[in-house]
């Protein structure tokens, strides 16, 4: 005790001071996050139980807003669209992104230029993406027209005017915009894999695809978590793409929840409906997020 007390005595005030400084340094960030996200979210949830119309008023009416929300066909379509978009964009982004990354990992020529090109769509806003794809998918000048003018007269590809498949038209644009980034992340993950693992797998005579699935992918866990966060945040904020590409049409076939909330608030001046819609979305995200966060971080205490 006596021998160590001298350095400890001089160190402790510094340590203490540093810890305090560290806490102070993090305060602005935590405050903004707490005030805005938690405060705003709780406020929204509370007022979703009120009869607010043009202005938020605290006259509570229980679950009426939710009844109306779920009996609205527009909301039903919006939820269905978000589900389709979410599931498809999750699967396709991951698969296409990984395959492209594996392709690029073969040390192709001009790799850097290729990578930049793949990232360019991501550097465009969803608004521009939506407009460009609205045009490409337009039957009168887009893909359909080009294929037909090449001689295949019966070719038909007109997703944006077909209520059944309009959400897939939006999905294509969304994938075009986002897959390049996923590819780059995956590529970074693949590059992080030790070359010796490939050598060992080859010596053992394991085919390449098996090496990818059973050895490489499990090792890229961290990268997959990052990509999942990015894809998920892209799904929940699906709004601008729809506005630019279809404005929710034809009819209400490509409505999404974020647009429903926006319309309720600004067009039909029915704040209560907007609050209820936001709350449902929050709830949906939490239902997905909590089990995942639990699996990912709940067992952390063990190590």
């Amino acid at each position: 005790m006596i021998t160590t007390s001298t350095p400890a005595a001089t160190q402790r005030p510094i340590r203490l001071f540093r810890n305090k400084a560290a806490k102070i340094a993090a305060i602005p960030m935590i405050l903004t996050a707490v005030v805005v996200f938690m405060g705003g979210t709780i406020w929204t949830i509370v007022f979703s139980f009120t009869k607010s119309k043009l202005l938020p008023k605290a006259n509570f009416i229980g679950l009426d807003q939710y009844d109306r929300l779920w009996s609205s066909s527009k909301w039903g379509i919006a939820i269905e669209n978000l589900l389709i978009y979410g599931i498809c964009s999750l699967i396709f982004s991951l698969v296409i992104g990984f395959v492209l990354a594996a392709l690029l990992d073969q040390k192709i020529r001009f790799e850097n230029t290729f990578r930049s090109i793949m990232l360019y769509p991501f550097a465009l806003s969803f608004i521009v993406t939506g407009l460009v794809w609205q045009w490409i998918l337009n039957p009168d000048f887009g893909i359909q027209k080009v294929v037909r003018s090449m001689g295949w007269e019966s070719f038909s590809f007109d997703p944006l005017n077909n209520q059944e498949i309009v959400i897939y038209g939006i999905l294509i644009a969304g994938l075009w915009q986002g897959t390049g980034l996923i590819m780059c992340l995956m590529l970074a993950g693949l590059r992080g894999i030790d070359e010796d693992i490939w050598k060992a797998a080859r010596v053992d005579g394991i085919p390449a695809w098996k090496t990818y699935i059973f050895i490489v992918i499990p090792m890229m866990r961290a990268v997959f978590v990052t990509t999942l966060v990015i894809i998920a945040s892209g799904i929940v904020k699906l709004y601008d793409l729809v506005v630019a590409q279809t404005s929710g049409g034809p009819g209400i076939a490509s409505e999404v929840p974020a647009k429903y909330v926006y319309d309720a608030m600004f067009l039909s001046q029915n704040l209560g409906q907007g609050f209820a819609g936001s709350t449902m979305m929050l709830l949906a995200v939490l239902i997905v997020l909590i089990p995942w966060a639990y699996m990912e971080f709940g067992g952390r205490q063990r190590d």
Partner: protein, 276 residues
């Protein structure tokens, strides 16, 4: 990376990759080309790729209909402003999490990142009302604040990953030499983290530049950035594709140029520091 790949296979893979690359790039190229066509040529069939009468009339038309300069300067101010303000808040926070980790650091980081997964509509209405009451609606300052808040988690996360790579010993050496805390951050840490900070800055400028949900909802005319400008072309003039292309090109050109000259930082930024 000395994996044995035969030349023929390499050629095939390269060709395949480039076909995909060109297909991906084509919509952008097409938009830029169309902006130089007349309206009639823009919807001509079969469309001509390069052989048409190049014209800049669409740009003149777009410029006379709306004030590109104003929207452009709004975009610059909002994206740069929000990024710089974000860095100002995030650098101390990331420093404290990377070098003085506490019991809750990991949880705070995760919790903070998870706010990125919450739907923005959840906080739209309260923020809208707060802005209306404080007169921040349709103001640049308001957008700077909102975009700072929205992108703060990403900024902190990116800086945290970069700071983690800096050896603590160097900071400790500075401390031994008697450097005060703030000079340690400003003169030792920040210069070493410049590449990381540059990537963060670049990525967040682009994210803020492209942010449309908040800019569309919180601006009307005065503070509207380029995203709102381009959105105003989508509905009423939906069929004037050449002008729409010109407007789109004007909106994306700054980013494309910026991206071209800073490819390395951009890739690093976009991949959260995973690619160097």
């Amino acid at each position: 990376m000395a994996r044995a790949v035969s030349t023929r296979r390499k050629l095939i893979v390269t060709l395949l990759a480039w076909t995909i690359g060109i297909a991906i790039f084509f919509p952008i190229l097409w938009t830029v080309l169309t902006s130089f066509k007349t309206e009639a040529e823009a919807i001509a069939s079969p469309p001509s790729l390069f052989f048409f009468d190049w014209t800049t009339e669409n740009y003149a038309a777009v410029q006379s209909r709306s004030n590109y300069g104003l929207h452009f300067s709004n975009s610059v101010i909002i994206s740069l402003g929000s990024t710089l303000l974000g860095l100002l808040i995030a650098i101390p926070a990331a420093w404290s999490m990377a070098f003085v980790p506490g019991k809750w650091t990991k949880d705070i980081l995760m919790w903070m990142l998870s706010t990125k997964m919450l739907p923005p509509v959840g906080v739209l209405i309260p923020i809208y009302l707060m802005f209306r009451d404080t007169g921040l609606l349709d103001s640049r300052l308001g957008l700077v604040i909102v975009l700072t808040l929205i992108n703060l988690p990403i900024i902190v996360w990116m800086l945290y990953t970069y700071f983690k790579e800096i050896p603590v010993d160097i900071l400790e050496a500075a401390r031994m030499d008697g450097a005060a805390l703030w000079s340690e951050i400003i003169y030792v840490l920040t210069p070493m983290a410049v590449p990381g900070i540059a990537s963060t800055l670049l990525l967040n400028v682009i994210l803020a530049w492209n942010e449309a949900f908040w800019t569309l909802n919180l601006t009307a005319a005065k503070a509207a950035p380029l995203t709102a400008f381009i959105a105003s072309y989508s509905s009423p003039e939906g069929l004037f594709y050449a002008k729409l292309s010109a407007a789109s090109t004007m909106a994306i050109a700054p980013i494309l140029i910026l991206g071209w000259f800073s490819q390395k930082q951009l890739v690093r930024g976009l991949t959260f520091g995973a690619v160097k």
